[in-house]
Amino acid sequence: MKVITPCLKIFIVLIFLSIISSCKKEATQWKTDWSIPFVTDTISLLNLHNDSTLDNFTSSDYLVSLERELLDISLKDFFFIPDTTISQTFSPTIGIGSVPPGFTFYNEVEAHELSIPNAQLKKIIVSSGQIDLKIFNPIETSAYYTIQMPGVEKDGITLEHTFFINAGTTDIPAVANEQIVLDGYTLDLRGEDITGSVNISGYNILQTSLSIMSDPNGDAVPISMSDVFEVEAKIQNLSIDYAQGYFGEQVFSDTTTFDIPILNQIISGNIDLDEVPIDIEITNGTKIPFSTEITMLENTNSFDETVWLSSALIGNPQLIAPATGAWSTLVPSNHLIGIDNSNSNMTAYIENLGHTHRLGFEVKMNPFGSATGSFNEIFPNSRLKIKLKSEFPLGLESNGLTIADTVAVNLSAEIVKDLIKAEEATLNITAVNSFPISGSLSLRFLDNAGNVLHNISDIETIESSLLGFMDSEENLMKNESVIEVTLTNEVLNDFELIEYVVLVGELNTTPGVIQNIPSNAYLFLRSYLKVKTLNSIP
């Protein structure tokens, strides 16, 4: 025991020192440099080529060839024939007594008025639709019901259907359900006058004729005044190919809003443009006279400044003639309202760089009332269209036009928590620019309250293609720029506080010259991040 005790004492002292020593260990740290691909992309106007917006074929420079449809209405938009139920009933007013077999005891024509809002139809051709019939027989022998619709014809034959119905009773009439398909039928909706001739001033009238014959092979049965013979006809899902009549003084009006969001991000600067003409084309494929009025055209820019297009053509109704011909020979009438610098403040309107445009218009049918009589006609291919068109060279002069966009971010300099932390990051961008516009970028880093924590503005410019060289293969002037955006340690240390990044881009062209944009121009960007990291192992 005397020998072991000193050994233990030594161990205890050494273990104590070891614990103290191990507590003092600091983290192991070293720095590394990493390169990470970032953005490789080409920015061009290619996505506008097939959108009736840009023409890159006609000349070496882009042409704006804008075409937007503001209104396109067809026959079904002028009026709507609702589902309609008509009923024809017969009860003997005097006692007939007994009905022998094969005896026709009722044969009458009735006129029914169709409820068609805003229209007085004289003739329609049905493309599809049907009549659902419900027939009631109160006598104790079966019977033949024949329904005829005078004026409803197909291939010159009047619509007529005969239905067999079983015997019923006064209290519980027999019921039969039948369906008549109206596809292709022509409906003369003028009705008859008291002489039985066509009422040329009539409209929206549908006639039915019902005759009832007892079964020739049945028994003689009694009939009384309490017996009700009834046919219910439900006209459903009527779709029309052609309509003639007077469609009233219907008015179609609207205010269309279209936005150009990027223009809402302009914070300073301006552009100069050459003349920008706008044509409003009205095409009338109906045989109805119209009047069209552009009630207003205005835009509002990012500074909340609104410019109205001022022209004698605004607020002044334009008469649109009816189409000519019929069916396959139908020729729509066209009317063009041209707005340019000669009759408006168009250039000032465009240079306001409005992000929200509002166009108001009003289209009025039969502006002279019913003076045209009953000869409004609409064919299957009849359409009323209003289009906005514009064609001009895409060119501009940009004077410090500055666009800003604020992006919400969630940043952290710690790439791997507690182990790898970014100390400095540099975005290396190689840009090939074939636009005759130079661009410079600056970044602002904001905290949650919108305070600017850091501002990086000393970033080199992506130079205009005009300062570069001619690429004969692509027939484009090009200029290559290499720029670096460095996020210093100070910026990275504040990453946890940064809630928003404001990207500010300034565009400039050669002063005093409207620069046309070459067809197929693009901006190619290739970039990578260089990140210096501090790696720590506790």
Partner: protein, 405 residues
């Protein structure tokens, strides 16, 4: 200076908890006068073909690894490089009084130990990637093929018998595994285009990691054998040899995660729309994992322990010669460890003090120089040694304390 002393003390103390046969191994041909013998030994040894010890020490003690440290290590690297750490401590109790199996020459041996053996084979590109990043591989390909890592921490308790005269011994040990990690990269590279607009990372490899949440991740069995024999040198003297096998066995891990990766992940530049529609500017790590087709299977695994083999010509404690030579070789069941040859000279300064020097070649590094000293008293012996004194790529310290009573 205080820090160096403190560091040496810290290592020494921590190594008191570890042990290995220190060089030179001494043969005491006397029959033990004392009935009981306890020895505690500890080893702390890290070696590398290429990584400077300044870097390794930064990982052990903390500190900043500067560019000069990285550059000197990087310049030292070949295509294939090795690094290893051997930390262990052993306590052995020998009872010379007991006669096991009714044999007066068979005494009792009881031992315990804690071991941590880690090794790494790796390419120069892997070192450069870890310490410089991929910035230096622009327009180039970094290859990691053939790199592998192995680390095993375990404890053992054993019982056996010894030959009181020859000092040969045998023990059967029960093993408890604390941690296991193994990885092999069959094929891997990182290609980076000149314009840094694309990266391509291929990884084909496999790995195993012990998973159980308990302190012991698995159990096993191993044997230790210390066989000593002598050959006649002349009429009066013998030459003594020792063959040691330690921790020859295996362990079974109850739950281990087996990883298989076999895929290519390509990182191209984003398009602007990607940025507008993305919440993060960096690739989702889960996406990369999926691209690499990682498969994780949890199952039991059987692992071999890093057994040590050593053959030595021993120093005779009772020899009258002032100088004695010793030599031998050492090996481990480990891919990264190259069999190490060693040789040295022992000087008997006095009856209670011996000093010596040695050279070795192999192991996890190449040529190493070492010295040792031991102080012998009646009832205890204290030895301090280093097998690696002047190397720029490793350090070694061994402490052994024996008490007899």
């Amino acid at each position: 200076m205080i820090r160096i002393l403190n560091s040496i003390l810290a290592v020494s103390i921590s190594l008191l908890a570890y042990s290995q046969s220190m060089l030179p191994l001494v043969q005491d041909t006397n029959i033990n006068a004392n009935n009981h013998e306890i020895s505690i030994s500890g080893v702390g040894d890290y070696q590398s073909t290429s990584i400077g010890k300044d870097i390794t020490k930064s990982f052990i003690y903390g500190g900043f690894i500067d560019e000069a440290m990285k550059l000197s290590s990087s310049n030292r690297h070949d295509e294939i490089n090795r690094f290893g750490i051997d930390l262990n401590t052993e306590i052995v109790y020998k009872n010379h009084k007991l006669n096991l199996f009714k044999d007066s020459l068979k005494g009792l041996v009881v031992k315990g130990g804690v071991y941590n053996f880690s090794s790494l084979i790796y390419s120069k590109d892997l070192f450069d990637m870890a310490f410089y990043g991929n910035g230096m591989f622009t327009g180039d390909t970094a290859y990691f093929t053939g790199s592998q890592f192995n680390s095993l921490a375990f404890q053992k308790v054993g019982i056996g018998w010894l030959n009181k005269k020859s000092k040969s011994s045998f023990s059967l040990n029960f093993i408890g595994v604390n941690n296991y990690l193994n990885g092999l990269i069959n094929e891997s590279y990182l290609y980076q285009s000149q314009s840094v607009d694309s990266l391509e990372f291929l990884l084909s490899g496999e790995g195993v990691r012990s998973k159980a949440s308990s302190y012991y991740k698995g159990f096993g069995l191993a044997v230790d054998m210390d066989y000593r024999f002598k050959m006649k040198k002349n009429e009066k003297e013998f030459v003594h040899f020792q063959l040691v096998m330690r921790n020859l066995g295996f362990a079974y891990l109850f739950n281990s995660e087996n990883y298989i990766a076999n895929g290519v992940s390509a990182v191209d530049g984003y398009q602007i729309n990607d940025l507008i529609n993305s919440e993060s500017i960096f690739t989702n790590p889960e996406e990369v994992t999926n691209d690499l087709s990682d498969t994780i299977i949890t199952k039991g695994s059987l692992v071999m322990l890093p057994a040590m083999f050593q053959f030595t010509k021993l120093v005779d404690y009772n020899s009258l010669n002032k100088f004695q030579g010793f030599f031998g070789f050492r090996g481990y069941l480990n891919n990264a460890y190259v069999p190490m040859l060693f040789g040295g000279l022992d000087f008997k300064a006095s009856n209670w003090c011996r000093i010596g020097a040695q050279a070795s070649y192999g192991g996890f590094s190449q040529l190493r120089w070492g010295v040792y000293s031991s102080i012998n008293f009646k009832h205890f012996n204290l030895g301090i040694a280093s097998e690696n004194l002047f190397s720029k790529t490793g350090e070694s310290i061994i402490i052994k304390l024996s008490c007899a009573f």
